[in-house]
């Protein structure tokens, strides 16, 4: 079996590895590549079936992006999403940071059960809750208002982030707080002045994730909001940029690309932390 390291076999193994990785990359990234091409394509080029769709048969154009920003409410939706995202992140941090710490350190056996209970709220997804919410939101007079989303979104960011933060806080050695408490700080003081600052990477991860969860959300925004000026990006683009049966493909793809790529770049830095917190929480 030690023949495995002959140059030929190594070459085959490397080639096979390359083919597998290339196939997966194509599958995952092709839709985004296709968005990129379409965004800059002239509409006449796009709808001429005689043209090779992989090439620019007419020169690339910024016309689609001009239409997107000047003739649609895309900019407004971006601002709406940002506002809702920031408000939800603030609420989430205020609730989840203390709760995560409490579950990791202060709560005993009942805390463990409660942690599992929080985990189980994943099993009650928006697709069950949107129907009762549609009426609750109406009763509060919040239909068609961004505040409805600010109120409801923490219902899924808080459990998720509490769970993540619990994982992070468990990885911090207990000595850190014990030393601070010997130095005269109360338990709460040690938490607030010592643990929170050294947990900044974890808290930052939670900020990113809460924000991306808000950007991804679709069902509640589709249910609560009906006027186009109040939409968030994830609902506005699929519903309002589609006029009748005529799709403005160039502008649509531009909208998808502009939102997706910055988030993907930021998110990429945090994925490892996310997975670590997530699996520590789930397996432990």
């Amino acid at each position: 079996m030690e023949m495995a390291s002959t140059p030929l076999r190594r070459w085959i193994s490397r080639g096979g590895h390359f083919v597998i990785v290339a196939a997966f990359v194509t599958f995952c990234a092709f839709p985004f590549y296709w968005m990129l091409i379409t965004t800059f394509k002239d509409t006449h080029d796009l709808i001429n079936t005689a043209n090779n769709p992989l090439l620019f048969n007419n020169p690339p154009t910024l016309e689609n992006l001009r239409v997107l920003f000047l003739d649609t409410q895309f900019g407004r939706w971006l601002v709406n999403t940002l506002v809702v995202g920031l408000a939800v992140v603030a609420i989430t941090l205020a609730l989840a940071v203390p709760a995560g710490y409490s579950l990791a350190r202060l709560a005993g056996r009942w805390g463990q059960q409660l942690a599992i209970g929080i985990f189980l709220t994943y099993l009650i997804p928006p697709t069950i809750l949107f129907i009762p919410f549609s009426r609750i939101i109406g009763a509060f007079g919040l239909q068609d208002s961004l505040w409805s989303l600010v109120l409801v979104y923490p219902s899924f960011t808080v459990p998720f982030c509490t769970w993540l933060l619990m994982g992070f806080f468990k990885t911090i050695p207990k000595d850190v707080e014990e030393a601070a408490m010997i130095d005269g700080l109360s338990r709460f003081g040690a938490f607030f002045k010592v643990v929170v600052p050294i947990s900044m990477p974890g808290i930052l991860t939670v900020v990113i994730f809460a924000f991306t969860l808000v950007m991804q959300e679709f069902v509640y925004a589709l249910t609560f909001i009906t006027s186009s000026s109040q939409y968030t990006v994830s609902v506005g683009v699929p519903t309002f940029l589609v006029r009748g049966d005529v799709y403005f493909w160039g502008s649509l793809m531009g909208a998808c690309l502009i939102v997706s790529i910055p988030i993907a770049v930021i998110y990429n830095f945090f994925v490892d932390r996310f997975v670590a917190g997530f699996t520590v929480g789930a397996i432990k």
Partner: protein, 308 residues
Amino acid sequence: MIAGADAARTRGLRRFIDNERWLGRLLLAPAVIYIVALVGFPFLLAIYYSLSDATVGSRTLHFVGLRNYGQIMDNPTFWESLRNAIVFTLVSQVLVVVLAKILALALNRNFRGKWLVRFLILLPWVAPISLGVIGWLWIFDPVYSIINWGLRAIGVFGPNTWPIWLGQPNLAMASVIMVDVWRLLPLATVIILAGLSSIPQDIHDAAAVDGVGFWRHLFRITIPLVMPIMLVALLFGVVFTFTDMIVIFVLTRGGPYDTTQVLASYAFFTGIQGGNLADGAAISLFLFPVLVGVAVLFLTMARRAEVT
């Protein structure tokens, strides 16, 4: 232990513990109250609506017992949606786990440009779902589908073959499954990758010294060791897919002829667009027992796999 002297000696300590306990509760309470108010309460309300005649228009509602459930069970579209939801979930998750395992193994070694590969592979998961799915809507376009164009260009499709991906029943189901696999593959891959990298190198070295071959190594050592974490990935995949309506809503709206209608989308069309809140609530509640069953099953299996 309950003796008075002991109690006196430990009073200071006990007060400290009591204090901590109250602090723990105080820190936890806001989050728990929020979750109970915005998950627990609406959930109970959903159950109540499903037993009532609530509609979007009227403000009053009356208790009607199990009448809605009876009506739903008589409706063939409901059974079709249930069947579709199960097919959609099972097929896509089997594909996700198998593909994610292969991809994770491929990524678990060092090679040049690995960070770029990782970035590209993560794109479907990190981009907002509804927007990524619009990209697929364009790829599946009945007139301009790049898949059809490509397959014709390389000679797989003859001049008369031009499938309408989202317009033909079986193809439509295959298409939405493909998009769901695309969306959940990155998450499963990074989770399995984390599991793979947590296996101590000694174990691999010991196996190599013993001359264990590639396949035996894979099925006897690597897979059993990442099993608990794979189950966690699978649990999330099943929950996300079974309750999802975004992929279906954006791509097919349940069509053609309800052949891709799933429980979540059917509940939306009945409850919100059709205005029948009571029936919509009842349909969506069918998601819940299935989810609980799946979760209990997986968590038990994950725990057992970890012990042995």
